[in-house]
């Protein structure tokens, strides 16, 4: 399972209908939280996201609509008895803010909180696990801001059962076959791994572009992604305002997705001025047909 669930799709000012930015990526058994606007913890409850399974939290930047819900979530996790450690990836200032808030409340979290500071000059891999890799990259916004590439690694080779049986390889050796090992038979025959397996399925890739001005340098990050999330704060009629505020429009997001050869585009971070979201799709689809609205509570397979 590799999917993303939308918890908030709105830009700065929350409404009763739309919440500020937050998404949960499910990668096999693990949950990753990307951004955490005010109200995220309640949205997690509403959409039955198991908070306890989140081990990594990525904060793109320190505008409030992307992180004001984080301290409340940490607080609640502690009150609910979490003991497993949690890692936060963000610009280093976030650590100072959280520490000050915990100190003023005389709160000692019941779990270890690790911080990985994000600085543009160190862009690259930040999570490197057996079936998961996360990289970050800088994007152009009013303050330091980062996007994330999340890859579900599929390293296991695929066994061809008829072949493995034909060579009389015992089932107990199958997991080693998946890792690429050759099999030495007792009669002296060395069964080469590629005789009995196929290469792993290609990794799947989700690219989260955070808040950004229209920037063609993003194309390199988005290339061949299975799913790209790109903000569309405004409809294209407000392209000038978007640029002034370091945000993007519908048509701009769709243009980048098309040029990058992405498979699918997810748009969000809609300005509160829009009550209807359909016009965003109507503007994107002629440019990049495979566009979806990040509707709160919806889950998109990657």
């Amino acid at each position: 399972m590799f999917a993303v669930t939308i918890l908030g799709n709105n830009s700065a000012i929350p409404t009763t209908e739309r919440h500020p930015t937050a998404q949960v990526v499910t990668c096999n058994e693990q949950l990753l939280l990307i951004d955490c606007g005010e109200g995220t913890q309640v949205q997690m409850t509403r959409y039955k996201i198991r908070r306890s399974r989140v081990k990594h939290i990525f904060i793109s930047h320190l505008h409030g609509d992307h992180y004001f819900g984080l301290i409340g979530l940490l607080n609640s996790l502690s009150l609910l008895g979490r003991t497993e450690s949690l890692t936060i990836y963000a610009t280093p200032e976030l650590e100072a803010i959280l520490q000050l808030q915990l100190e003023c409340a005389a709160t000692q979290l019941k779990f270890d909180l690790h911080f990985v500071p994000l600085r543009a000059e160190n862009a690259g891999v930040i999570v490197d696990e057996k079936d998961l890799e996360v990289r970050f990259f800088p994007v152009r916004h009013r303050i330091p801001c980062f996007g994330f590439v999340i890859e579900q690694r599929r390293k296991k080779r695929k066994i061809i059962p008829e072949q493995a049986q034909a060579y009389e390889i015992p089932a107990a050796f199958y997991s080693q076959l998946q890792e690429g090992a050759d099999y030495q038979r007792k009669d002296g025959v060395l069964v080469k791994n590629h005789w009995v397996t196929l290469p792993p399925a290609p990794s799947k890739k989700y690219v989260y572009c955070a808040d950004t001005i229209y920037d063609e340098e993003l194309i390199a990050q988005m290339e061949h992604a299975d799913l790209v999330y790109h903000e569309t704060t405004y409809l294209h009629g407000l392209a000038e305002r978007a640029a002034e505020r370091y945000h993007s429009t519908s048509v701009q997001a769709a243009t980048l997705a098309a040029r990058a050869g992405a498979k699918r585009l997810l748009i969000g971070h809609f300005s509160s001025k829009y009550t209807e979201l359909q016009p965003f799709l109507d503007e994107c689809r002629p440019v990049f047909e495979n566009t979806e609205l990040s509707v709160e509570g919806a889950t998109f397979l990657i």
Copy 2:
């Protein structure tokens, strides 16, 4: 109009049904916000509270369920174009937290933000306006914490129309009569104010006791209040746990209200462990009949 509207009635962990502490006091044309847990700004929208009319915000203490929604509210007020100044009354550390958050976001609020630091040794009057007085007092909690006494002053004397007409006082002079002035007639007669007016109605008093352990010293603050808000985090069976955590129970709140001769008691800050609130009323009313549950969205006249 002197009333309190409940925006949040829950203790630490918010749920989809109940929000952390926040209340709005309406005093004539003015709104006062008391505490501001996560999600308060959306609750204000939901219950049609005009955020622009809030000029004073009182934060009882720096546990997150009483202030995590403040930075988001300030941010939104600024984005919505507020220019009128706003005053926050809280322990001094709050100013450092908010300044750090604004700085990291490179946000310059569009309005002046004033801070009035609350320190136990200075307990007393913090707002002194024509028709409104607010005092603060320390309460006993795990960290520095304060309660507030909000008085709607009624300084205008009440004109007795028949008397004022009998003395031939022109209507244009009525507002001066309400302020207590005598009237000098052209024929030389000095009409004494008390011949034609009655004393002002007595002030009305709302006492907000914040988060507190059972503490009989609160009785002095609550005396003869028209409405007292006292937390009841737990039902009385958990009195021991309440004391350990510097919180109170249903029966304890009711006992204090009864002993103080308060007219009405409002209870809230219910632990998330309780899904039903009726048992809180059932425990309070035998001790102090005039008890009400702080139901979200409900308005109580003071």
